[in-house]
């Protein structure tokens, strides 16, 4: 309770300090704009980092709206453009593309091999966001880490983003930034999606200490730079809602019902070691579909009957790490609340405005209309989450960047225009270019995905229960975190 009160006090103080009229540090001078972050900041989309979406990363959106141009691959170090570690399509890893929408969406990696396009760019990139990075990683990674089997995602990406030239903080400071934007912390808790285990979250104490150290390092090295950070969302991405906790007939997409007309919930392991049917509120991460396809979670009473008896592990309960319970979700939400309290407190102490990213995700989860299109958290057609179901679409990153612009405008009294979804309209001609703002010929949609392998669904579960999405990096398969 005392901790809660402390947090509540901190939040109230932060809000009061952040009230209109408060002086933000430095100025909103975008002469040299630097962003630090994770995969969201990098423009990671549909399991891939590539130039088609890097130009829509939230830092790129902010930069463009602030009047900066984006660097083309051939840009020199002297250029004042906003530089990002562009990767050619299909990216690293290969981008997941939608091959078919009906009768069920079919999603598969695009063929080919993406390559970094600006490895020899002779200064640090303005966008130093590293997929997989935690708060701590922004202080420690340099890209010079030795290659190891199963190395963390951030280490792999840092190799061609940081290029051994120092930590993100050091490289950002080397650019003598006039303005710094930071959004970090997602990977300190989103591992729960993959591990199913809340214990993998960074503790609130460690998070606050690392965030404090990160902000201190940035502020100390760049005392006159303007700055903005963002809070963290705790709404549930479609990655956790695509697979229901009950058996679905793959032919009809409808729940399989018992003789009494009830849904048949999968069987999982309880915290005390016993097992029983999953509660309806249980979430099943997308990667668990592979185990469901092998029969895990099928109730023992059904394991001997066709078609379940064809599955090798029918009757074996799902492990605790295969699912996320409502209690575990509550733990995540509470932890994110603690993170955000720390972010608010640390930012307020240095007159740094906080973009309300949590609010954006909340609004999306309720659904919202933007001009002619409806945006929601729905998979595939929701328009916000992309085809890996926890990163964002171009439009999602555009709205993400707008939250930063709004925070900057409020705190600094600037009038940076937000980005319009009209940038994503087709056939706008002279307004924005048919493909929106981009990097010349490097942003051209081919329109056809011919030749892409159809990894159609088979097995007892619905199409979402296909094999885990392979994400290739440097020739090896690994899972890319947030």
């Amino acid at each position: 309770m005392k901790r809660f009160l402390n947090i509540a006090t901190a939040v109230v103080v932060a809000v009061l300090i952040a009230a209109p009229g408060y002086a933000a540090r430095g100025e909103a001078d975008f002469t040299t704009f630097v962003a630090l972050g994770d995969s969201y900041g990098a423009g990671f989309e549909s399991g891939s980092l590539n130039e088609r979406h890097q130009v829509w990363s939230w830092p790129a959106v902010v930069a463009r709206q602030a009047g900066l141009s984006l660097c083309l691959p051939g840009a020199t170090a002297a250029a004042t453009c906003f530089a990002q570690p562009l990767v050619s399509f299909p990216g690293i890893s290969n981008e997941l593309v939608l091959n078919s929408l009906v009768p069920s969406p079919v999603i598969a990696p695009a063929p080919g091999q993406g390559q970094p396009l600006m490895l020899n760019f002779a200064r640090p990139y303005n966008n130093l966001s590293i997929p997989g990075a935690t708060v701590g990683a922004l202080l420690s990674l340099t890209g010079a880490e030795p290659q190891t089997p199963n190395e963390p995602t951030a280490v792999s990406f840092a190799r061609f983003i940081l290029r051994g030239q120092g930590t993100p903080v050091q490289q950002a400071s080397a650019l003598h930034p006039t303005f710094i934007a930071l959004w970090i912390g997602g990977n300190d808790y989103l591992n729960v999606i993959f591990s199913g285990n809340p214990a993998t979250m960074t503790s609130a104490t460690d998070f606050a200490a690392r965030y404090e150290a990160l902000i201190t390092a940035l502020v100390t090295a760049n005392p006159n730079a303007g700055m903005v950070v963002g809070n963290l969302p705790s709404s549930i991405p479609p990655y956790l809602t695509l697979v229901p906790p009950y058996i679905v007939n793959p032919a009809t997409g409808q729940p399989v019902l018992d003789p009494a007309g009830n849904r048949i919930y999968y069987v999982g392991t309880n915290p005390d070691g016993s097992f029983g049917q999953l509660a309806p509120t249980t979430l099943i991460p997308l990667q668990t579909r592979a185990r469901l396809a092998q029969g895990y979670g099928i109730p023992p009473a059904l394991a001997g009957f066709p078609p379940f008896n064809q599955l090798p592990f029918a009757g074996t309960p799902l492990s605790a790490d295969d699912v996320i319970t409502a209690d575990e979700i509550a733990q995540v939400v509470a932890r994110v609340g603690q993170y955000n309290a720390a972010i608010n407190q640390i930012a307020a102490a240095r007159d740094i405005p906080v973009a309300d990213i949590a609010g954006l995700f909340q609004r999306v989860s309720h659904g919202m209309q933007l001009g002619p299109v409806a945006i929601s958290a729905a998979p595939v057609t929701g328009g916000f989450f992309n085809l890996d179901f926890f990163h964002l679409t171009d439009l999602g990153y555009l709205l993400f960047g707008n939250e930063f612009i709004k925070a900057i405008n409020t705190a600094y009294g600037t009038q940076i225009p937000v980005a319009s979804i009209a940038q994503l309209f087709m056939n706008n001609g002279a307004f924005f270019g048919d493909s929106g703002p981009g990097v010349g010929n490097h942003l051209t949609f081919t329109g056809s995905n011919s030749g892409i392998t159809d990894d159609a669904v088979s097995g007892i579960v619905s199409f979402w229960s296909r094999q885990p999405i392979p994400r290739r990096l440097g020739g090896r398969n690994r899972v890319v975190n947030h």
Partner: protein
């Protein structure tokens, strides 16, 4: 199931456009002399255009006369998206340039000592908002076009001393509306992440017609003072027409096939289009025989637009009733006529015209605004010939939707208009 919504939205959007015509499409410039006096003419009404402005005025005209002319209208406009709007930030737009020709024609025939018959033909209502491609607001309206034409026979009687006159007549009005808009996919294209156009909807009515009436009085209190008042009824004109839908292909066969199933069939449609009443009262002061100064108050009954009902005949489920909530509005007009020589008059005027459109209704279909105007003109008359001309400059006050557009299409509308009128008259 979101595809199913496409049908309804596709059908509704363009017809909703009809509602937005309910404001600001009155064209009170129906004679060059009156226009030169900023439309302050109800208490003067001393040429055949009185048939439009105040039919009682023809009673004082004791010679058979004809008057014909036109008003040419040019708009300049600009839309600037709201920099805080995630829909319109960075968006600009303007109309295709058109010169609108609004003709008028009047004839009067005195009968006996006190009675005058007259007939007028004019187009007192009309609108065109034709946005130049490429136009981001095309999903609300690309082009909206309203045309009307009226024939107005009247009769007026005055007392033998000429101090009091009353007149009135019937108005037969024809009207038609054409609306054109695109529809976007109602969610981002999951194949490309972009927002494509998927259909064009063109709703075109045939000409419909209605009958109303107008009446007026003119009272000359003294040599120096006159009071005039007139009233023209509102009308509801039934319009029948045709909705044509054309698919715009995205390039993805699967998506296009899905969209195709949601596009409504071409079909007959009908609606009832409301036109407002116009009530005007004015006072004129002539300090001597060379000066006429008139001040008018015109009240236009735009509150007639409470709601609009549109019916689709093949797919009735797309029919709808939409609340409108327009408000009556006032226009204040000041006009001055000065006899310079026996053959020449010069004229000036100024006006302030309130817009009746709630901020929530301001959209690319019809972005109306309060208007201020200034006019200048001249008249030449010798023997049976009369030539009048005028130039009226209208400045629409900047109208910013301030985040209140229900469709999120917020921004600033800036409009100016130039109206040049000329009339040629002959007295037999």
């Amino acid at each position: 199931m979101r595809f199913l919504k496409l049908t309804a939205t596709l059908s509704m959007t363009c017809l909703l456009a009809t509602s937005a015509f309910g404001s600001g499409f009155l064209i009170p410039e129906q004679g060059a002399k009156a226009s030169a006096m900023a439309g302050a003419f109800v208490a003067t009404a001393d040429d055949p255009s009185a048939i439009f402005y105040n039919p009682a005025g023809i009673a004082q005209q004791r010679e058979m006369s004809v008057l014909a002319g036109t008003t040419l209208i040019n708009f300049t406009n600009e839309f600037t998206g709201d920099p805080n709007s995630p829909v319109t930030s960075g968006v600009t737009g303007e109309y295709n340039r058109h010169t609108f020709n609004i003709p008028n024609m009047y004839a009067i025939v005195p009968f006996g000592e006190n009675i005058t018959f007259g007939v007028g033909a004019f187009a007192a209502f009309g609108l065109r908002t034709d946005w130049e491609d490429p136009w981001v607001g095309r999903y609300i309206s690309k082009d909206a076009d309203l045309k009307t034409m009226s024939v107005n026979p009247v009769v007026a009687w005055q007392t033998s001393d000429g101090r009091f006159a009353v007149g009135g007549g019937l108005e037969y009005r024809r009207a038609r509306v054409i609306l054109n808009a695109n529809r976007m996919l109602p969610f981002p294209d999951p194949f490309t992440g972009r927002i494509p156009d998927v259909a064009n909807a063109r709703l075109a009515s045939d000409y419909g017609s209605g009958i109303g009436w107008n009446a007026g009085i003119l009272f000359k209190l003294s040599e120096a003072f006159r009071i005039g008042a007139s009233y023209r009824t509102g009308m509801d004109i039934d319009l029948e027409g045709r909705a044509d839908f054309r698919q715009i292909f995205t390039g993805n066969p699967q998506l296009d096939a899905l969209v195709a199933t949601t596009i409504p069939p071409d079909q007959d449609i009908n609606t009832e289009f409301p036109f407002p009443s116009i009530a005007t009262i004015g006072v004129a002061f002539s300090p001597n025989e060379n000066w006429d100064i008139e001040l008018d108050l015109m009240r236009t009954g735009w509150s007639r637009f409470e709601a609009l009902a549109v019916n689709f005949e093949t797919t009735p489920s797309a029919s709808f009733v939409r609340e409108q909530n327009w408000e009556d509005s006032n226009a204040y007009r000041l006009g001055i006529n000065k006899n310079v020589t026996p053959h020449w008059d010069v004229r000036f005027g100024a006006l302030y015209d309130q817009n009746p459109q709630p901020i929530e209704a301001v959209s690319p279909l019809l972005p109306d605004s309060d208007r201020i105007g200034a006019s200048i003109g001249a008249g030449w008359h010798a023997g049976p010939l009369v030539i009048d001309t005028s130039l009226l400059v209208l400045h629409f006050k900047d109208r910013d939707t301030n985040g209140q557009n229900p469709e999120g299409f917020d921004g600033l509308y800036e409009t100016d208009a130039l109206l040049w009128s000329v009339n040629l008259g002959y007295r037999f």
